[in-house]
């Protein structure tokens, strides 16, 4: 008997600062839009379990897109991108997400991004809190230097394996072998974008000294970080949350930097805590 998933895929073409981007996204569920950003050099299959989890999809319309240059979202169709070095910037990344949400006519979606998506979540909280019903920054911090490396694209090494095995230690040893292997496998597919994504992650994203400008009064912000994440440690996320009035930090135990992909059952409990926190804060804000 064939088993069909309730998850569906679509393409939508959007404009991002003049770039024509045909964006692929997966979605399932009904309710508050929950827009999910994968990690650097990866794609939306990292959200495979969340997309099919009825506990979530019964209350949320889960939408997981591939950022341009990732997965099934090709590089911009109206520019000779192959003549440029790919370097993602905070301006472009932010414009992509707001343009995507506009195209889908999402009202007050919740944004959940991991790793470079967790850092972008903080950019959104700073720049566009009025557009979102809440933000979850997963493995995010104000600043995360050290990973904009040439090894990801060195022609004398196997870039697919260097990218995939280079992030292996970001996962917890307790996470299931099959899910760690799947996450490794995804990382063999994105080495060309990985380094450019990390330009944003480790260089262009720097909110040191600006956390006090983030307004969480109408857009609740929750940071959740795994204790085996050696890039953005729980201490980094805690420090970041401490600098933002109204932000909440939750430490995830026995899990690493790709929580939704490497060990969904453990991630789910913490993620639900974050969503509940956002819901409670939103209701409290409306009551004021």
């Amino acid at each position: 008997m064939a088993q069909f998933s309730p998850v569906t895929g679509h393409y939508v073409t959007i404009d991002v600062l003049g770039d024509e981007c045909k964006v692929f996204y997966l979605e399932n569920g009904e309710g508050t839009p929950l827009v999910c950003q994968h990690t650097a050099g990866c794609h939306n299959h990292q959200w495979r379990y969340l997309l099919e989890d009825e506990d979530i999809t019964s209350n949320y319309r889960v939408i997981a897109y591939d950022l341009t240059n990732h997965g099934k979202s090709d590089p911009p169709t109206n520019k000779e991108w192959w003549k440029q070095e790919y370097r993602l910037t905070a301006d472009w990344y932010t414009a992509f997400i707001t343009s995507f949400c506009d195209a889908l006519e999402l009202e007050k979606p919740i944004f959940a991004g991991c790793s470079f998506g967790g850092n972008e979540a903080l950019q959104l909280a700073l720049r566009h809190p009025e557009r979102f019903g809440g933000i979850v920054s997963i493995e995010g911090a104000d600043y995360s230097p050290g990973f904009f490396l040439d090894w990801w694209q060195h022609p004398h090494a196997n870039a697919a394996q260097v990218s995939a095995s280079g992030v292996w230690d970001l996962m917890a040893p307790q996470s299931p072998d099959a899910d760690r292997a799947a996450t490794w496998f995804y990382y063999t597919q994105g080495s060309e974008a990985f380094r450019g994504d990390l330009y944003f992650y480790s260089v262009d994203h720097d909110l040191r000294g600006r956390l006090g400008e983030i307004d969480t009064s109408t857009c609740p912000l929750v940071l959740i970080t795994g204790e085996y994440d050696y890039l953005t440690t729980p201490e980094d996320s805690q420090r970041t949350a401490d600098g933002i009035s109204g932000a909440t930090f939750i430490k995830m135990e026995k899990i690493g930097h790709f929580p939704m992909s490497e060990n969904y059952p453990v991630f789910k409990g913490y993620f639900q805590q974050a969503l509940n926190q956002i819901q409670e804060e939103s209701q409290a804000a409306m009551a004021r």
């Binding site: 995939a164 292996w168 040893p173």
Partner: protein, 147 residues
């Protein structure tokens, strides 16, 4: 000293067996050819790999015994943690421990990167063979295989 020698000898034999019988390493190790040093504080172990098999392990090699391409160095405590089935965060991998603990990677790092998939797997096999830093944590029969 005799006890330490026995520990080292037993570990060399066990680590060789575990690596050469590991399905994952053997499935992907056809071109895994390199020589590297594990510096574990009081002792050093030089691992010589050929076609994915452990060809030789030198215990405390002399300075000119055999050339190696890169080394992985850390204190005994870091290695002891690394070898546990559930190591503490930041001592759980060579990247993690290099970024956050006292581990150091030296030498021709290009060779490490070229062999990263297999080296990463081989380091995890220390959780099966045990780590030869202290006798009580080096006996492989005390630890369940990680696979």
């Amino acid at each position: 000293m005799a006890t330490e020698t026995a520990v080292a000898d037993r570990w060399v034999e066990e680590f060789t067996r575990v690596c050469n019988q590991d399905e994952e390493l053997q499935a992907h190790g056809k071109f895994f050819d390199c020589s590297y040093l594990l510096d574990m504080g009081s002792h050093k172990y030089q691992i010589v790999m050929h076609h994915g098999k452990v060809e030789e392990i030198l215990v405390d090699p002399g300075p000119l015994d055999l050339r190696y391409q890169f080394l992985i160095r850390a204190g005994e405590d870091t290695w002891r943690e690394f070898g546990k089935k559930e190591p503490r965060p930041m001592a759980h991998g060579i990247w993690a421990a290099t970024f956050r603990e006292d581990m150091e990677l030296e030498g021709d790092l290009l060779v490490l990167m070229q062999n990263l998939r297999c080296v990463t797997r081989q380091m995890e096999l220390l959780r099966v063979s045990g780590v030869p830093v202290h006798e009580e944590v080096s006996a492989p029969q005390q630890r369940e295989p990680s696979t």
